[in-house]
């Protein structure tokens, strides 16, 4: 009995480590920006290139910043969720069209619907770099003081919206 105890316990430890390792998603890199001020930008708007979209305009509001692109398949998956959330009126979602063609982006929104009150254009991907974006879609929850409170990597799904985004938004609204 004693002979097997040591190998067995080592085996169990290894299994636990590997099991935890299997559950981790290497794509989900914790963002160092959560809890820090949202990087400033002033980008032309998609529908009105002469007007600038800047986070400074949204001080005092809780809002979502959603990086998307017409070429991104994950954004297509996420889109119905954003439409639903926009329709509910719980929190405004502002779009950032990441490294995209203006006409293609507008055609995409025309076809699938536009959940954004304003869409900024980040054609060179510089705003994306400042926000630590490494693959669209990515979504940030920004509070009244302009601080990033949450970062979603990859498409939002109804479950994440209901369990993470909305409770967080409510909590931030009440502050």
């Amino acid at each position: 009995m004693n002979r097997f105890l040591l190998p067995l316990s080592i085996f169990i430890v290894v299994v636990v480590f590997l099991g935890v390792g299997l559950k981790l998603n290497p794509r989900e890199i914790p963002s160092p920006l959560v809890g820090k001020a949202a990087p400033d930008f002033s980008q032309p708007q998609l529908y009105d290139p002469a007007t600038v979209f800047s986070p400074a305009d949204l001080k005092g509001k809780v809002w979502l910043l959603n990086f998307w692109a017409s070429w991104c398949s994950g954004c297509r998956t996420e889109h119905p969720v954003l439409m639903e959330l926009a329709k509910s009126g719980e929190v405004p979602i502002f779009g950032m069209d990441y490294k995209d063609q203006r006409d293609e982006a507008m055609a995409w929104l025309k076809r699938w619907g536009n959940p954004y009150p304003v869409v900024g254009v980040d054609d060179a991907g510089r705003v994306g770099i400042n926000y630590g974006v490494y693959g669209v879609p990515e979504t940030y929850v920004i509070d009244k003081q302009g601080v990033i409170r949450y970062k979603q990597i990859g498409p939002l799904d109804p479950d994440t919206v209901a369990k993470k985004i909305l409770p967080l938004v409510k909590q931030l609204e009440s502050q």
Binding site: P26, P32, R126, G128, I129, G132, Y134
Partner: protein, 153 residues
């Protein structure tokens, strides 16, 4: 048919040539970029360095680093810029911190455990191995048995 093959071969050769992208003009900037980029991870294709990757984000980041080099920022400033946005994950050599102590010290701990286990096992075995004296009579018997075995085969 041969012609077709020849054309295909030539064509593929051209495609290969196209992959080596010409980098920016200033060789000094490129040298520093190269030196920095091998230390940085491409976040899209996570097991490649920023230098190796052809992902669009890697290209953008190389452009960003190139611009910072042109602005005469130090290596540390450039790396801090990237770490502030992407976290320690962009570094191929993670810094020694409270959260990474296991990563840095783990291999040495395992080595120590292994070495201790080895020493203990060897000592135990040394106790078990006892010199057994062999008499002349036994020697003769062994030789006889071996000789018989040789005949049989």
């Amino acid at each position: 048919m041969k012609w077709l093959m020849l054309i295909t071969l030539l064509w593929s050769g051209q495609a290969w040539a196209g992959e080596a992208r010409p980098l920016a003009d200033d060789p000094a900037v490129e040298a520093r970029l190269k030196h920095l980029a091998v230390e940085l991870r491409c976040l899209v294709c996570q097991n490649q360095t920023l230098a190796d990757s052809n992902a669009p984000l890697a290209e953008d980041l190389r452009r960003e680093v190139r611009e910072m080099i042109a602005k005469d920022m130090s290596d540390k400033e450039i790396i801090d810029f990237l770490v502030a946005r992407y976290g320690d994950f962009v570094l191929y050599r993670p810094p020694l911190k409270a959260t990474t102590t296991l990563l840095w010290l783990g291999p040495f701990v395992l080595l120590m455990v292994g070495a201790t286990a080895l020493v203990i096992t060897l000592r135990r075995r040394a106790h078990k191995v006892v010199d057994v004296p062999v008499t002349d009579e036994e020697h003769r018997r062994v030789e006889q048995l071996l000789a018989e075995g040789g005949k049989r085969s």
